[in-house]
């Protein structure tokens, strides 16, 4: 692809500007509370926007355009029933309550609600997933620089690591959230521009529908719901597996998402950030899937049928990007970079938080001071970035399958994680050891069903059911914690007033 000097200038300015902005916003970090929770000083609008781009990376932009080409609007369900619904429920039922619990991480909450075994299990699972995924994100970034700017892969990975490392190490969560806010705006504008110029090329919305409908096997591309007997996305599986299990588990249990709302100024702002995120997500998925339909109308002859067994991904969006005029192309490429950098900074910051909060401080150095935790947290950010950059060279040729392997690994734990969070937050009768039993049974169900070739949405649903059933049965024969021990850990038992006052006073003093 040939880039104009204006486009190149925009991309380089964006890279340098975002790093400088992140470092400036994140100045004044003095301890691990500042580094990991931004001193609980973040406004709802920045947190909400940051949550959106932590979820949508450059890989999703390319992937969703491919999926839009192959399956149509049904893919928007991942953001509609899979995000808007759980996010709205979480906004009122869970997030203000978790904010008041005063935890840094979700495994920390699980450790206090159940026991340390459950805490360590989930901390290790999430840290492994995040650090493993870093190499894949580096490959995405490197490949983009190689093809767009003509840089070498090594230079591309190093530049990305240094820029992200600078503001994430210095500024912590605050720098991450404010740079994500800029990324969200650029991503939004970039997605609108692709849709706008693409639709103009097709001849408008009606022409798009006519052209797509004329192609074989695309009769349902403009429908969000597929029939119950659809082989890929039957609506009952989408509703139960995605809407009731995978979506809630991701938006309530994913450390990279939830950590932002823990950094909000107050429980009300944590709630508002979730509602704002849901509002953005009502339109964002259409902007990401629509390019797939536009690509289908314009490039079907070159790309071929989406249901072909020999399908290779990553061709739809690059084809569309070539339609963009000079200057606009730079903005869209900025959007790609925004997606990559926001993914990278979110994962690296959250992985460091998990390791310090759930492994280093409770098990390795129980008397570690705040300064020491800050130093360890910053060192881990650097170590994870170096690790991710190094492994990006190893997985470069097979990064698609590596990414899928890590996603598959995480999906085994989503059903049990949701069961542990829901039952733990809603019932005082659920016992400490039922958490571990639920985790084991849920994961076992998921692994068995996946190896049996079942649809991943059904695997998620039944692993959740298995975890819930085993937790209830175990709770009937084991001893629960007392109500005093559960104060602030179950929705119906608010924390002691002193803790709430202390958290709110700290906020007002700041």
């Amino acid at each position: 692809m040939e880039l104009n000097s204006i486009d190149i200038a925009f991309v380089i300015l964006y890279l340098l500007g975002i790093a400088a902005f992140g470092m400036w916003m994140g100045r004044g970090v003095r301890n691990s509370f500042d580094l990991f929770l931004a001193s609980k000083s973040l406004p709802w609008w920045a947190v909400g926007a940051s949550m959106v781009v932590s979820d949508i990376g450059a890989k999703d932009m390319v992937g969703l355009a491919d999926d839009g080409y192959r399956y149509g609007l049904v893919m928007t369900n991942f953001d509609l029933i899979g995000c808007v619904f759980p996010v709205l429920v979480a906004a009122f039922l869970f997030m203000p309550f978790l904010w008041l619990a005063g935890v840094y991480t979700i495994p920390e909450y699980l450790g206090r609600r159940y026991n340390q075994t459950v805490r360590v299990c989930f901390a290790v699972i999430w840290a492994f997933f995040m650090v493993g995924t870093l190499s894949v994100i580096f490959v995405s970034a490197g490949t983009m620089f190689v093809s767009l700017l003509g840089w070498q892969f090594l230079t591309s990975v190093l530049v990305t690591a240094i820029l992200v490392g600078l503001y994430t190490t210095i500024g912590g969560l605050k720098a991450v959230v404010y740079t994500d806010l800029v990324s969200c705006i650029v991503l939004f504008v970039g997605a609108i521009l692709i849709c706008w110029f693409g639709l103009q090329e097709v001849g408008g919305w009606d022409a798009l529908r006519t052209k797509v409908s004329a192609i074989e096997n695309t009769q349902r591309h403009f429908q969000i719901l597929r029939p119950a007997n659809d082989p890929n996305y039957p609506w009952p599986a989408v509703l139960l597996g995605l809407g009731f299990v995978l979506g809630p588990a991701y938006w309530i249990g994913n450390q990279a998402i939830v950590q932002r709302s823990f950094g909000s100024r107050s429980p009300a702002e944590a709630r508002a950030s979730y509602v704002f995120c849901a509002a953005i997500k009502t339109v964002f998925p259409f902007l990401l899937v629509l390019p797939g339909l536009i690509g289908l109308a314009l490039f079907h002859d070159q790309i071929g049928p989406g249901d072909a067994e020999s399908w290779t991904g990553g061709r739809v969006l690059p084809a569309l990007v070539q339609l963009l005029p000079t200057g606009v192309l730079g903005i869209v490429l900025g959007a790609f970079l925004a997606g990559v950098m926001s993914n990278l900074d979110s994962y690296v910051n959250s992985a460091a938080t998990l390791c310090v909060t759930d492994i280093y401080r409770p098990f390795l150095r129980t008397r570690a001071s705040e300064k020491e935790c800050l130093w360890v947290g910053r060192s881990l950010v650097v170590i994870f970035l170096v690790f991710g950059a190094y492994f990006s060279f190893i997985v470069r040729d097979s990064y698609g399958s590596v990414f899928e392997a890590f996603q598959q690994f995480l999906s085994f734990f989503q059903g049990p994680l949701l069961a542990l969070l829901l039952l733990g937050m809603l019932s005082t009768r659920i016992t400490p050891w039922s958490g571990f039993v639920g985790l084991v049974f849920g994961v076992a169900t998921s692994v068995i069903m996946t190896s049996g070739g079942y649809l991943f949405l059904w695997c998620a649903w039944w692993s959740f059911i298995a975890a819930v059933a085993s937790m209830i049965l175990t709770s009937m024969v084991t001893k629960p914690k007392s109500k005093d021990q559960l104060k602030g850990l179950v929705c119906w038992l608010p924390p002691a007033d002193t803790l709430i006052e202390q958290l709110l006073i700290e906020e007002h003093v700041k």
Binding site: I81, F85, F92, I224, P227, W235, A268
Partner: protein, 76 residues
Amino acid sequence: MLNSIFLLAIQNENLIGRFAFMGVFAILIVWLILAPASLFRDNDSASPKPIPFWKSTKNWAIAVASFEMLTYWFLG
């Protein structure tokens, strides 16, 4: 009556799915309206002054859920 609903469901195979998805958001809206006020405090300081309706996260959540119902009705 039941026959006509049954016929409608058979003719439009996604109709049940569409109602199921809309029903999820409808239940959410009803819950948002009926749930205890303590869940919706938009003002963390104990100020008695009520906030304007457009600043209420509860109202925004109802608006977003209603928009989703319309999306599933028209595109489902």
